[in-house]
């Protein structure tokens, strides 16, 4: 469990000692040592303060305080000395920029206020991210204001030094390495920036250095497979929007795999249905853990990682009619059905695989070739450059280091001491290198082992250019002056940060600043693009550009070298016994008609199949996966991400072992499906992978997890990386195995029950809908027959007549002639990615509360994604089995563990027109606006919490503490220090202790949007005003608009036959509408479900009639 110092005051708490629990549950410690003081007669007598004096002091201080309160407080206002022309205080400026951390790529727009970034949105002009943005990209804003960042160059031990000294030490190290005829290495994550590459090239030519790319999450195996098929070390571009059938083998393409934001956009396009478009894609997922993509699939088949090869080969056989040897058991029926879907949709089918095993990927490529996917659903002519890490080179580097051949190493945006498999013993090898330099922006596991740290700027402070894909370019521009700029002065003598590229150029003897370096580089690169300045300005304005035909990954002069290298690599690959023979066989052919072969080559798969057959399987297999929030761990010191509940497990601030409840029963683990967060804690288990022992992690029941497998998220268990992330969870990178020349993320493991329990913070302990109609679902078939399928309207009995609940009104309606703001959420395209949650956090200054408070159910998120599983039990089934009501409901709480259906539902304040919260507020702090908003007036609230008590959706949040001022939260709350406070949105109040808060439907944006229209003297255009959640949604599942405009998108969704409102039958009339989820299944709704619904309704009616 790593370091436990943060959340446990001692074993008492870990063991839930009753006395400790009692004390802990007492929020305000009432113990005041009065008795002790009074009993101490000595102290009383010795005290020279008489009662009279005491009263005098008391009177004086009260009077002084009163008088002081009467004085006018003086507020200072400091205007600019020379105001920059583009800044109007109080008005935001937007800049187009790019986020790329070596893992996630996204073209972004940055909102700045008074020259500080406060919000990140997607850039709609980008052809890759298309205006979408993910939770991680949203949260990267907070990483800028991380006071744990390095503020000065320093030694590995943390002694701050000047840049001059740092430069001289680095240069001496480099010179020594050259003198000793040893290698100089730059180790970096994938670099897609042409100018950075040019800077590295300048450096490497000066010091005869070598640049090695190494990604924490490796795509090396897949790259090798693609090279064997196409001769390019590239990943292709996937076009999910062109696919009718999507079959994914363990690829979580909606959150992590290659380009998740783009995939989400494309996927949603195929899933959105309307009266005009009645088709949707069929998504079949084979996987071991329950991933976000898998939970959105129409059909999901849990398989063990070791079975994946067999399934892929079996599918290959069915699709191509081939007869490759299938080793292992395969569900033939499932494979045949899947193959039928695929072959029925040739040219519109897509098979993807998340494995990093070259052999499996080769077979997958072959399936796609047979299906005619290349050129249709896979665009291999537009290669993707974002994943270029080369595992083989990395392993070779480790060997070189160990043998003492490396004289100097520079780390740029990578942290191999943390991410490399333990087997490689990277730290030990590193100790043999004389000069070690890191460009890290904040501490990590590698920096203490380095000699010198030359801190880079944050991405929002620096210039860069990016070429994520052939023909696609985007610029990254600074949106703030570097926070830790070199400062000279008596008070604050900071040496500051410096852009890594500038450091490299400086060491190579080039003093250019990187901005002009990029500009001149672009001038050379785009010499056909017209006036260079106009082109540059336009590109900078747009953020992302696409130029047909342009975009070799390397500058021209490097091309020749690359070609040579390619040949060389081929020989290597041949020796590596992957499918080398095949590729060599085809090499000549390839050279001849490289351009003609649209489909790539068809390598012989026998070797690959043999290798797959030889793969080890085990009784317990472990999958190391990237969680939606933390990803590869590069942003683990980000409290927004740490507190973002994982969409599937709903766990915050930890990684855990996910295990199928059936396995847990077999392993005698205590299943706490619905547990009291403060009292109960899950059992722990110790996982051992090939000799690497992981510290005990809590075991969490995960319905849908393949039997015999467990899942553990990577990116946790950091040390030396900052106050937020240190000691949270356990690092599992070290257990990743090295198989077939690439790092794998699945392994056989042994698992042993630990002695202790471990308390986790889970935001949703309730797993199923218990037969209530919270998420309404139907099948595509049923929906095509009847658009109201699965959405039977609720009715109530009023005065003995069955009526529509909207016809019954307890209140006198008042006339509201103006706008009527509303949200609509399409559950069919909501993939549960939680981008909206982080977006809301950033927009509305939602505080982070930390693990302990989350365990007390006091998380402050204004929007949450509820996740439900389907249950095997239904009311009808319970009746048939004579279970009785209590037992039926108890069983309904348990999700069907084998393979449940998963539902996601974003819940924010529903802005009920007849809001239950409004009527109970004794001070009218919450009331209804003329525009349909449920308003919350913080300065009026006295904190009775009646409203939260009366809210049926539990969306109201109470400020138990002054989160921005309370020292207990300084390790988790970004709003604590002066730097962290800069992230706050000045258009939204920071709430204080004792105040209720909730979703305001981003009223600040509504007000701003209305003002723009009023000033322009025009009507509001639909879609012009967006809430934070609707703007950030990568699948456009949330839309916001004005119901008073019948042409607005939101009005149309509210009038859609799939539309329903939560608890509509109670007459609360919410302003948020949901559209029924439609799954592309041919099955009709289960009989049980139907009966249950009708029965439920009957009961409902009875109850209503009763009341």
């Amino acid at each position: 469990m790593g370091n436990t110092k943060k959340y446990w005051k001692g074993l008492d708490e870990l063991n839930n000692n009753p006395a400790f629990v009692k004390q802990r549950d007492n929020e305000f410690n009432e113990y005041v040592p009065v008795d002790q003081f009074l009993a101490n007669t000595n102290a009383m007598e010795e005290s020279s303060t008489s009662r009279r004096d005491f009263l005098k002091f008391l009177g004086f201080s009260v009077t002084a305080a009163t008088l002081a309160a009467c004085e006018t407080p003086v507020t200072k206002v400091v205007p600019y000395v020379i105001k920059p022309e583009e800044i109007t205080p109080g008005m935001p400026n937007w800049y187009a920029s790019t986020y790329f951390d070596g893992h996630d790529y996204c073209s972004i727009l940055v909102k700045t206020r008074e020259a500080r970034p406060i919000k990140i949105e997607g850039n709609p002009l980008s052809k890759i991210s298309q205006g979408g943005v993910s939770a991680r990209v949203q949260a990267s804003l907070l990483s800028l204001y991380d006071s744990d960042r390095f503020q000065s160059p320093q030694t590995g031990k943390g002694t701050e030094i000047t840049w001059e000294k740092a430069d001289s030490i680095v240069k001496a190290g480099l010179d020594n390495a050259i003198a000793a005829k040893k290698d100089v290495i730059i180790l970096s994550s994938t670099i897609i920036s042409p100018s950075t590459k040019a800077a590295i090239a300048e450096f490497t030519s000066k010091y005869n250095a070598k640049h090695v790319s190494y990604d924490a999450i490796s795509y090396s195996g897949m790259l090798m497979a693609n090279k064997n098929t196409f001769g390019h070390h590239h990943l292709p571009t996937y076009r999910f929007d062109k696919a009718n059938v999507i079959v994914s083998f363990g690829a979580d393409f909606l959150t992590n795999w290659i380009s998740p934001i783009e995939h989400s956009k494309q996927y949603a396009a195929t899933r959105r249905i309307s009266k005009e478009k009645k088709e949707m894609s069929k998504h079949i997922q084979f996987e071991s853990i329950l991933s976000l993509s898998g939970s959105n699939a129409d059909e999901r088949h849990p398989i063990k990682p070791s079975e994946m090869g067999a399934y892929v080969i079996a599918l290959h056989n069915k699709v191509t009619g081939g007869a490759l040897a299938v080793s292992g058991k395969v569900d033939d029926k499932v494979v045949a059905e899947t193959a039928k879907y695929l072959t029925d949709n040739r040219g519109k089918a897509l098979v993807i695989c998340g494995s990093n095993d070259t052999n499996i990927q080769l077979v997958v490529n072959s399936i796609n070739q047979a299906l005619g996917s290349y050129g249709t659903t896979i665009d291999h002519m537009t290669p993707d450059f974002t994943k270029k890490g080369n595992d083989e080179e990395f392993v070779k580097l480790c060997e070189d280091m160990r043998s003492g051949n490396v004289g100097s190493i520079i780390f740029y945006n990578c942290n191999p001491v943390y991410t490399a498999p333990a087997k490689l013993k990277f730290a030990e090898a590193l100790s043999k290198v004389a000069s070690k330099v890191s460009f890290a922006t904040r501490g990590d596991e590698t920096t203490p082992l380095c000699d010198i740290i030359c801190p880079d700027h944050n991405f929002l402070e620096s210039w860069n250019d990016h070429n994520p894909r052939k023909g696609h370019y985007s610029l990254q521009q600074p949106t703030i002056t570097p926070l830790f700029a070199p400062r000279k002065g008596a008070a604050h003598n900071s040496n500051g940060t410096r852009q890594a590229q500038e450091s490299l150029l400086l060491w190579a003897g080039n003093n250019t600043d990187f901005h002009s370096y990029i500009a001149s580089n672009w001038k050379a690169m785009f010499n056909n693009a017209g006036d260079p300045l106009t082109f540059w300005n336009q590109s900078l304005h747009d953020g992302a550009i696409f130029i047909e035909g342009v975009g070799e990954e390397m500058p021209e002069h490097k091309k020749e070298e690359e070609k040579k290298e390619t040949k060389h690599d081929h020989k290597k690959a041949g020796a590596v016994a992957v499918a080398g023979a095949a590729s060599e066989k085809h090499e000549n052919k390839k050279e001849e008609k490289k351009e003609e072969v649209e489909d790539g080559m068809k390598p012989d798969l026998t070797a690959a199949v043999a290798a797959i057959g030889a793969m080890k399987s085990g009784s317990t297999e472990v999958v190391f996966y990237e969680s939606t929030a933390i990803g590869n761990g590069i942003q683990s010191n980000n409290p927004w991400l740490q507190e973002l509940p994982d969409p599937i497990t709903k766990i915050t601030w930890d990684n855990c072992i996910t295990m199928n409840p059936a396995d847990m029963e077999a392993g005698k683990f205590n299943i706490l499906e619905r547990f009291d967060q403060l009292e109960d804690a899950p059992d722990t288990a110790i996982v051992t992978v090939d000799g690497v022992i992981l510290s005990p992690l809590p075991v969490f029941p995960q319905p849908g997890q393949a039997i015999g497998t467990i899942g553990i998220a990577i990116g946790y268990g950091r040390s030396n990386s900052g106050r937020v992330s240190d000691g949270v969870g356990e690092n599992v990178y070290k257990a990743t195995p090295w198989i077939n020349n690439s790092i794998q993320y699945t392994a056989t493991a042994s698992i042993e029950k630990g002695k202790d329990t471990y308390a986790i913070a889970c935001t949703q302990t309730h797993h199923t809908m218990m037969g209530r109609e919270i998420v309404k679902e139907t099948s595509l078939m049923a929906w095509m027959k009847d658009e109201k399928a699965g959405n039977e309207k609720e009715t109530v009995v009023h005065k003995g007549v069955v009526t529509d609940p909207m016809a019954v009104n307890l209140w006198d309606d008042f006339d509201r002639p103006g706008h009527k703001w509303a949200l609509a959420i399409d559950l069919n395209t909501c993939i549960g990615c939680a981008a909206c949650v982080v977006s809301c956090n950033a927009e509305n200054n939602v505080p982070v509360v930390g693990k302990l408070e989350v365990r007390r159910s006091r998380e402050m998120h204004w929007i949450r994604i509820d996740r439900y599983y389907s249950s095997d039990m239904s009311k009808a089934k319970g009746k048939a089995d004579h279970l009785g009501k209590v037992d039926t409901y108890r069983k309904m709480e348990h999700a069907s563990s084998a393979n449940p259906r998963v539902f996601f539902q974003p819940i924010m304040c529903q802005h009920c027109n007849h809001a239950p919260c409004e009527t109970v507020c004794p001070v009218l702090a919450t009331s209804h606006s003329g525009e349909g908003l449920n308003m919350m007036t913080y300065n009026r609230c006295v904190g009775t919490r009646y409203c939260a008590n009366n809210c049926p959706f539990k969306v109201r949040r109470f400020n138990w503490f002054n989160y921005t001022g309370n020292k207990n939260f300084q390790d988790v709350n970004p709003g604590m220090d002066d730097i962290g406070r800069m992230v706050l949105n000045p258009d939204v109040v920071v709430r204080s202790r004792g105040v209720m808060e909730k979703c305001s439907m981003c009223v600040q944006r509504i007000q701003a949007g209305k003002l723009v229209a009023k000033k322009d003297g025009r009507k509001i255009v639909d879609g012009e005003i967006q809430t934070a959640c609707s703007q950030s949604c990568p699948t456009n599942a949330i839309i916001f608009g004005d119901l008073s405009d019948p042409e607005s998108a939101v009005s149309k969704w509210h009038a859609n036959d799939r539309n329903y409102k939560l608890l509509e039958e109670t007459g609360i009339r919410p302003n948020v509408a949901y559209l029924t989820k439609v799954r592309n299944t041919e099955m009709e709704e289960e009989e049980g479900g139907k009966e249950e619904k009708t029965e439920g309704k009957k009961e409902n009616k009875e109850e209503k009639a009763h009341s």
Binding site: A69, C70, T72, P73, V74, T75, K76, V77, V78, P79, Y80, V81, I82, K83, T88, P89, G90, M91, D815, P817, G818, S927, S929, G930, E931, L933, M935, T937, Y938, N939, R940, D987, V988, V989, V990, S1000, V1003, Q1004, Q1007, K1010, L1011, A1013, K1014, K1015, D1016, G1017, R1018, K1019, I1020
Partner: protein, 461 residues
Amino acid sequence: MGFKIFQLFLNLDVILLINLSRIKRENSSRFDFFNIQNMPKSFKKPQRKAFVILHFLLFSTFFLHFQSASAADGKSLFKQNCATCHKPCDQKLTGPGLKGVLSRVPSADWIHNWVHNSAGVLKSGDSYAKKIFDENGGSVMTTFPGLSNADIDAIIAYVDPGDCPPATAGPSKTEPGTGGENTGETKGGLDPFWVLLAVTGILLILAIVLRSTKRALKNVVNEKQGLAPEPDRTIWESFKHWCENNKRIVAVIILYFVCVGVKTCWYTVKDIGVYQGYHPEQPIKFSHKIHAGDNGIQCVYCHSGAEKSKTAGVPSANICMNCHKGISETANPGSKEEIAKIYYAAGWDPAKMAYTGDQHPLQWNKVHVLPDFVFFPHSQHVMVGKVECETCHGDVKKMTTVEQFSPLTMGWCINCHRTTEVKMEGNKYYDELHEKLKKKYGKQPITVAKMGGLDCAKCHY
């Protein structure tokens, strides 16, 4: 000044006399409750009335001065057109000082040509033009084709004799004086409060003297009529005696004071946190009266945010420098030191006429402070609502140190929203809404409140 003080006394006398006569009248009907209550009310804050009258008098004199100032045509033309680059004395600015200009130039006609088309004169190869062009760092003078020859002559007539600050005694010299008396704060002189106190003292002494005289006279009368002499009571004893005889009046008076006390307390408590009239001293003695009033600079020239943003904004030093590059000193005493503070802040070296880059941000004291939980957009009110700045900020043009004119309480905001009609004509945003509201309210005025202007979330979020 003597006359003014005389006037003041006169007025105070009149007021006091009126009041005294009223007291006498009311005393005659001893049990008339309402009149008795009215009595002290008429006494309430006589200072205020004195103020009003005093102000009236002062303003009348002020306007007299103002008119005489605007009579100097050449001077105002000079200020409007030339003052950014030239000074009416020997001192050089961007252009040369203009004192004795007539004696330097070839002819009066030459000046006309030069002002109308300096570039043309320069092109024609005129030797004097070339000379001043070189002397002044090779910058061409802005042309003023709009100025007539008569205008130019008027300007020359003003600048030729010179108008250097220490030597001249123009009418502007009295301006700071009047400004000071206006607020009664910044300038010395007689404070009306002390005048009033002195008058009250004199009257008291008078009353005591009169009382003893009256008693003496009464004694004489009594003696003549053979009655016993008036008992020799001290003032305190006679007051007690009177109180004993008039218990009801005393009770009413006490009740009245209790009521007034409670009321005062109530309003004082209510006004905690309300800083109406707050006018802090600023780091630079910047006078809105001189800038917005005398020189007629538009509010939004400096507070440009008012039209675009939530905040009107305090102008940055470079806005000041737009004018003060040229104006380093005015006729107002102390102006040079104050303007030097801007130069220090902006990092401007007036000797070299160049920026040094050594900036020192100014820390102004905020006058209008809204709590953080209120969002007040200026641009909404200025651009859409077409509210004049003066509506909330008062007559800033007359304020030397600017003060908070409005209470800025929520009640004040709400009241305005209740009474202000929305200007919907010509704004298409309101078209549809206007139709609906017209149907609903008929001919009633459509106020902000009727369009949701009282919703909490209009200002609190």
